[in-house]
Symmetry: C5
Subunit: 307 residues, 5 copies
């Protein structure tokens, strides 16, 4: 079980106390973060929300809020605009505002990716003040290796500082991407570099893709370099494409125990299920991430009552 | 009949009350929006205003204001500069300020589209204060898939927040465009994605093109995915190219009843008619959108007295 | 004779009164504008000021001020820096500050044109306050169809609003240009589109090139579409290349009577003449534009005493 | 001998008085400017400061300050950072802060030149206030014909206005450059255009290259068009590559007497000499520019005692 | 032994006193700077921190802080975000905040390098105020010869001024790079130019690569031109790739004695060693740089007790 890091330096005392409160809220007093990622309506447009095995209730964005409200997630990360529309009816969810997002329409072959900050930190501050919601932090995606890297690192560094100054957590989604790194996006050494970069940006958590071995298979042991490189910035792995619940939990167990990650982020594997299934799935993830229960215990929650 | 959504969160109480008043004004207490789109003098230059079947009075921009003044539209969307010139004589119209516009001179083959915000929100605020006009909201066009997408999403997100902070509605015109989506601009799944993106921007209405089936024919049933993806952000379809009034009403009926859209936006189909015809046409649209009357009833209004 | 439009909406009462005063001053109480264009020292560098039939006194920029001071022009449009240098000695001239300018060195084949705002509106305001000069308005050139169109429309829209807020007139030079419109720059339908665009920007006057027919000859009747499209934004034609005075007046008569333009802008045809000839030429233009005299009367002024 | 122009309009009275004081200081009460150009450590990196006939003391930047301190220059133009480092020991020098600079590493064939403003005018104001140095003005280089012309003209126009508002002189280095003008950089007609452009920017002095005739030889008579085009903005020629002192003075005589320039700017021809030689050289230039002495008299100073 | 330069001009008295205190702290009262460079976690991602001869404790970023805390370095340069995370536990280290950083993923063949400022100087000021850490200065990398040179010079000039205004030292990493200088990056004449450029930016120290002779071997005598060109801006050489400790000290001796540099910067040669070895290595460097001891004496420290 990770030990909660201290608040970052360089901010007023009151902001430090607020940061600590948000840290405990988001990690559910465990020092580990179960982040429900819900920014795909921009990142993947409607691809993740319809068709195939996707539960029909996922077609409606309210499904995300229903899950986040009923399941024991540490925080639900999505865009401010969506929170502004549903937050009044889902006021107990701990929110993390995802501050930049782009569509997946332009492929790297056409142009390296760029994603810019949507709302200013002043707008975020006002939103929190007026909404009264429990906003625990902000998120931002960087693409190391993109030709627009400099712009994104500049925005990221500034928003991490401003987030801390408001007592908010800062989570950086760090995905190497662009012509310069094509085919190496999931190389563990490169991901370790990205995680170290995030620690230099001062973020509290780095959300990275789980590294693959030479055969294209996730190898949690490769996370060792990543977690070490990130230092006191904690590492969580993105959940990635949909898979079976037991397989997901198995991979999560390896990430936590072999990779020593500090939680996990999952989106599609949660919201593509029906509400009861999604809640049960979250219960299982919560058991492992927050309660530090063994996988075998967690698996039993997949079939039980969702409450 | 749609239920009026609540004001967005994250703004002062007074702004919420103002937003609600503007919402009821724009939707004529019906929860459905009949938006008269009048930004074509920039978007299409003079192409829509002369020649062919276009009524000769459409050559003069005042024609737009005359229609909007005499017909029961929910709001008339056009550029601030034009409103500043005619608003004094047409003070009762509920206006929606279209904040970005571009010409159609540069084709996607030459360069992906980009359209930037014309007036700052501070200028908009001052304009409303000093003009005393009934400005119910602002509009902005995004082109998901354009190489300039990041710049437009950033501007859009900021203006939606600032609009709400002023108690104004925010309507996003969302048109997938650019080399990356060439030939797929009217695909229902892509349009659904764009509508979901708009909901993440926090806008109140998404104005989209009606989706086409594989034969290039509008299929209102395909709107189901679109309306679902938009969640509490309401969807209205652009009217598109000029057609006969009965055909327009037929398509509108399908959009409303099969697609469950929350109104419609129409420009050329209104202003290319003579003033009396345009008013009659609007009466018919109003009957269906705002009064929820059957198409058959609406059609009778096309030939009656225009008052 | 045009009727003076009302001040634009959306500005304080005092600014409206100032705008009206400036409008009457610039149009010499006639509602029609005789604009002496003097921004060519940047736009054409020294090409217009030396050689061929150009009077030798045109080599010195003071020649422009001498003409504008002695001739009955409605306003003299040039760059702020030049006014700052000569204004003290020519304090009675009504000035229009041309806020952007570019050289003609880069051709469209190399790169689409872009021209950015030189002074901020705060600097303009301070210049007016401290200089005490009679500044009636500001000017700005847009190039619809250029790849940099979005940047110029954004600057133009903001400065029109700010100009009105200071009680100043806003005149937009609107010239379709760029690879996308190559060979069509003087097409009447395109020019009409540009004039309509200017009306949406909220400018008071649109300065356009006179349209050519299929044989490359100016056809004033084609201005009908242009003037109609501009609505309450008044249209004036650029004078274009130097020609004989009677030919100029003949073309002006057609523009005013067949095209219903609201004045004219002329630069080279004025300043390439000696001071006495230039003043006589301006007297003739003034007679037609401001006094609404017939061309035959105006022609007699070309040979009389210049006072 | 030129007559001192009046302060530019559009600035507070106190700024006018300060401008006049700076003008008299920089022109040494003569109305003509002897500007010692010392921005080459960025513009040419170390190429001008070592090797060949360059005096060994030129390797140290302090050499520039020693010359400017001991020789009767009107002002010494260099970057703010260098002045901040040496100014305390050379407090009597009238300084002109060169606000933009670029290296010569990228050739026009690779990319058109761009040089951006280093310090903001607020930083310049604070620097003057806190340093107590005698800063008479600011300098900025523009490259008419470059693809980045618009950005540089915008910065130049704003800083000229702000400089005047602080009572500072504004000197524009105007060098046509870029693919569009390749091979014509020293054409007199183009240089005249650039000088006229500078007058429209409102600068007090235009620093241009001396024009060449068709054989590539400087022809001072060609300066007539240049000086005329600049109007009340005074023209000084850049000194250009190192040459013998008598040859330099001969060219200077032609520029002053045939070209009617208002002084000169010289850098390499000064600082590449040893301190005593440089001072003697400056004495000779000073005699001709400021004292209006004949060349023959000036030449005698080249061999005399340097005091 | 260098003489401590005076504080730069143009800042308030209190800032001058603060600058002097920081100068003495960073140079350990010696006028020479031993800078421990720790920005590689972004610049080189994880490449420098794992594999080959790299000590295993270097995988954790805390290793950098442990060394900087126990070894007699003049300052430890790294990103603000990392300092914010570890500074509370390593409060005695004199820090230098490296304000821009980029990854090495994009090679010059793909695109010229650009690295932008991460935190604003206002954020830096607040960080210092609230953290209470001993921050002695800021650092910034420029790439003369890059197509983005203008943007970086602008940022650098502004931050040097603002750093001095806060009483902080300014250190510029100056590395010629880009297609225009490919293959000449370590040419002594070009490096001298870069050092002179840094002096014009007003920085206190220029960090350059040691120049190579025609055979690709470091030749400290070539530093003479570099140090001369930098004037009162002091020059330190980057340590470069890892080498043996005696070889490093030998090169350092040559740089200090033949090249007359004012200290050194070293990163990989320090942190790739185990903590005791790194401290011993730093002791040796400190002896030569700060204590001006002969190399032979320093070498004895490599094998002694690390305290």
């Amino acid at each position: 079980m990770s030990i909660a890091p201290q608040a970052p330096l360089g901010i007023p005392d009151e902001a430090q106390r607020q940061w600590e409160a948000n840290y405990h809220l988001a990690t559910q007093e465990s020092g580990r973060l179960f982040l429900m990622a819900g920014d795909q309506k921009v990142e993947h447009l409607n691809d993740d929300f319809i068709g195939g095995q996707v539960a029909s209730d996922d077609a409606d964005p309210e499904h995300l809020f229903q899950i986040a409200s009923e399941a024991p997630v540490g925080c639900f990360a999505t865009q401010l605009g969506l929170i502004a529309r549903y937050g009044r009816d889902y006021a107990k969810i701990p929110y993390l505002i995802k501050l930049n997002s782009k569509t997946h329409l332009i492929k790297t072959e056409q142009r390296d990716p760029v994603s810019l900050q949507w709302q200013s930190m002043t707008q975020v501050r006002d939103f929190i003040r007026y909404s009264g919601l429990r906003v625990v932090g902000v998120g931002y995606t960087i693409y190391p290796g993109s030709e627009w890297e400099a712009q994104m690192l500049q925005e990221a560094a500034q928003l991490v500082h401003d987030a801390h100054d408001l007592g908010l957590l800062a989570v950086i989604w760090a995905y190497p991407r662009g012509k310069a790194v094509h085919g190496r996006e999931e190389d563990s050494h490169l991901i370790a570099g990205a995680a170290g970069l995030v620690s230099c940006l001062g973020a509290d958590f780095a959300k990275v893709n789980p590294p693959l071995d030479n055969h294209g298979t996730m190898d949690a042991k490769l996370l060792g370099e990543v977690v070490a490189a990130a230092g006191r910035t904690q590492v969580i792995c993105a959940g990635g494409r949909e898979t079976t619940a037991p397989e997901f939990l198995h991979r999560l167990q390896e990430q936590l125990q072999l990779g020593h990650t500090a939680g996990c982020a999952t989106g599609r594997n949660v919201h593509q299920r029906s509400l009861p299934d999604a809640v049960r799935f979250c219960n299982a993830v919560h058991a492992m991430v927050v309660k530090n229960e063994p996988m075998e215990k967690a698996i039993t929650l997949l079939t039980g009552n969702s409450q």
